[in-house]
């Protein structure tokens, strides 16, 4: 199908909306009626035509608007994109990975022509055409990671591997669930996850790290993560928390269905060939509660998950103060009927 790109905003007047197509392909993150941390990794293989799991890097109707929002955030705060000097090679690996995948998966939207190290890239939705020399920084308008991630939805963290650990040494982070790249850059896997409650004690990060250290070239993996956000605000950054935090007080029983969003991250993990680094794309999908409950299975399940979530997690995910109102809204869509296993609509 041809994607109908939308012109919409993720701030101030919040004109973002999901089309019926986007709702039915939304990556609902709960495969059962309860939630606890797990190392829920699966191979990042093409799954279900039309789903967000079909392509290596999913492109949807929000692509152009999300890229405009990224440019806006970067203009306001250039520190959202940083790369320590030794990560430039990993940035080039990422250029290759994304360009090859997009040109292969969306040939009507993206083209990549290569003659040795002379590359010619065409991005039709954004109207970009670039000829450059692969691995020659001087032939791109900015660093390689920044160049390509200004043209790819979702955040990207580049992780250097050394000392039996992963180090977040570069990233493009403008659609984050309340963490600061500028603060966390240079940290190792345990350090940047330090604020996450409960999971350390459960050994989740130890197991996840061990898995990721052995991640192989050509064999990417993925998982889903989630949180809750008031308004379709992509940039829930700590930097601007003093500005957006107050929006949490604006929920009422009347508007909670429209203003409260479920925020899902499709996280994937790739080994990069030249640098031996990992890239960790974190793609954010937003859906308001009203649209969640339009799928009966999802309405029932989200009600049960949020109602029964441990307090620590509801606090960490930032919706503890509004949980009663959210659960109350969702309860109207839970008739107690059993739900089918798995994340997809019935």
């Amino acid at each position: 199908m041809t994607i109908q790109f939308k012109d919409e905003t993720f701030h101030d007047d919040y004109t973002f909306r999901n089309s019926p197509w986007a709702i039915q392909r939304f990556p609902f993150p709960f495969h059962e009626d309860s939630y606890m941390y797990s190392v829920n990794l699966e191979p990042h293989l093409s799954l279900r035509p039309g789903s967000v799991f079909e392509k290596t890097f999913d492109v949807d109707e929000h692509y152009i608007s999300e890229m405009k929002d990224r440019a806006r955030v970067l203009a306001n705060d250039p520190l959202r994109c940083q790369s320590l000097p030794h990560m430039t090679l990993a940035g080039w690996d990422l250029v290759e990975l994304i360009m090859e995948a997009k040109a292969r998966d969306y040939p009507d939207l993206f083209e990549l022509h290569r003659d040795g190290d002379h590359w010619h890239w065409i991005n039709k939705p954004l109207g970009i055409e670039q000829r450059f020399t692969f691995l020659d920084d001087s032939t791109l308008p900015c660093g390689p990671m920044e160049y390509i991630t200004r043209q790819a939805q979702g955040d990207f963290a580049l992780l250097d591997q050394r000392e039996e650990n992963l180090w977040m040494d570069a990233g493009m982070v403008t659609t984050q669930a309340d963490w600061s790249l500028d603060f966390d850059i240079g940290m190792n896997f345990y350090e940047w996850h330090a604020p996450v409650p409960l999971a350390h004690e459960m050994g989740v990060f130890q197991r996840a790290l061990k898995f990721l250290l052995n991640l192989q070239q050509g064999a990417p993996y993925r998982r889903l993560n989630w949180t809750m956000t008031v308004n379709p605000l992509l940039d829930t950054s700590p930097e601007n928390y003093h500005k957006w935090g107050v929006q949490k007080t604006e929920l009422t029983p009347e508007n909670v269905g429209q203003k409260q969003y479920l925020r899902v991250e499709l996280q994937s993990f790739f080994r990069l060939p030249r640098s031996n680094a990992l890239v960790f794309p974190i793609r954010c999908y937003l859906i308001r509660l009203e649209d969640v409950v339009s799928v009966p299975k999802w309405g029932r399940r989200l009600h049960r998950v949020l109602r029964d979530l441990p307090v620590e997690l509801a606090t960490y995910k930032g919706f503890i103060r509004n949980r009663p109102m959210i659960v109350d809204f969702l309860s109207a869509y839970d008739d107690g009927a059993p739900t089918s296993p798995g994340i997809f609509p019935d």
Binding site: E163, M187, A194, G245
Partner: protein, 202 residues
């Protein structure tokens, strides 16, 4: 008593040890205020170490108490300076002249150790190879995550950012690169509702 036992915290929060002499071609020591006690203990435990040591010491409010005693150790080089910013060019020069095998010992407040460690890492020493020992004040170097300004010597939670004036709460999340803990607006969701300030670890 200048030693403080920090309660167990999250994985990004630095953990300090006790300085011990390690084999190496040269020894660089940086300390402030009561941190001198750790160097004195180190020198007592490792005779001969000071002959190959370059000591950078910032007495802060301790006056001549420790400076005199450090002088009697006769380190190969001893610098006593008024502040970390004043000492930083000297520290950088020492690191840029050094070879592999240099041992780095840091002692005193978290702010001093953090900043000196940042320089040593930048010069190419792995963080895990740099020894630290906390002594003296539990004051913290805080970064305001909103305006990015650093407020030095924070001893209360919450505190007011010295740059943008927001009321910030003190997190244990720590960045080696910033040499600072993270301060986050405490009343973002309830503007004006700021709890009374408490001394850290009180």
């Amino acid at each position: 008593m200048t030693r403080f036992q920090f309660p167990k915290s999250i994985a990004s929060r630095p953990v300090y040890g006790r300085l011990t002499a390690r084999p190496g071609s040269a020894h660089l020591m940086v300390a402030d205020a009561e941190g001198a006690e750790a160097l004195l203990d180190l020198a007592a435990a490792a005779p001969g170490l000071m002959e190959r040591a370059h000591v950078i010491y910032l007495p802060k409010t301790t006056g001549a108490t420790y400076a005199r005693r450090l002088e009697t150790l006769s380190p190969a080089q001893l610098y006593i300076g008024p502040s970390y910013p004043a000492a930083e060019p000297r520290l950088r020069k020492a690191l840029s002249d050094a070879h592999m095998g240099l041992q780095v010992y840091l002692a005193g407040t978290e702010g001093l150790m953090g900043q000196a460690m940042r320089e040593a890492i930048e010069a190419g020493i792995p963080a895990g190879a740099i020894q630290t020992e906390h002594r003296g004040s539990v004051a913290r170097r805080m970064q305001c995550v909103h305006c990015k300004g650093i407020t030095e010597d924070v001893t209360t939670d919450p505190f007011v950012c010295a740059h943008c004036g927001l009321n910030l709460f003190v997190r244990d999340h720590y960045s080696r690169r910033m040499a600072a803990f993270q301060g986050v607006c405490i009343d973002a969701e309830d503007p004006g509702d700021v709890p009374p300030s408490k001394e850290l670890y009180s």
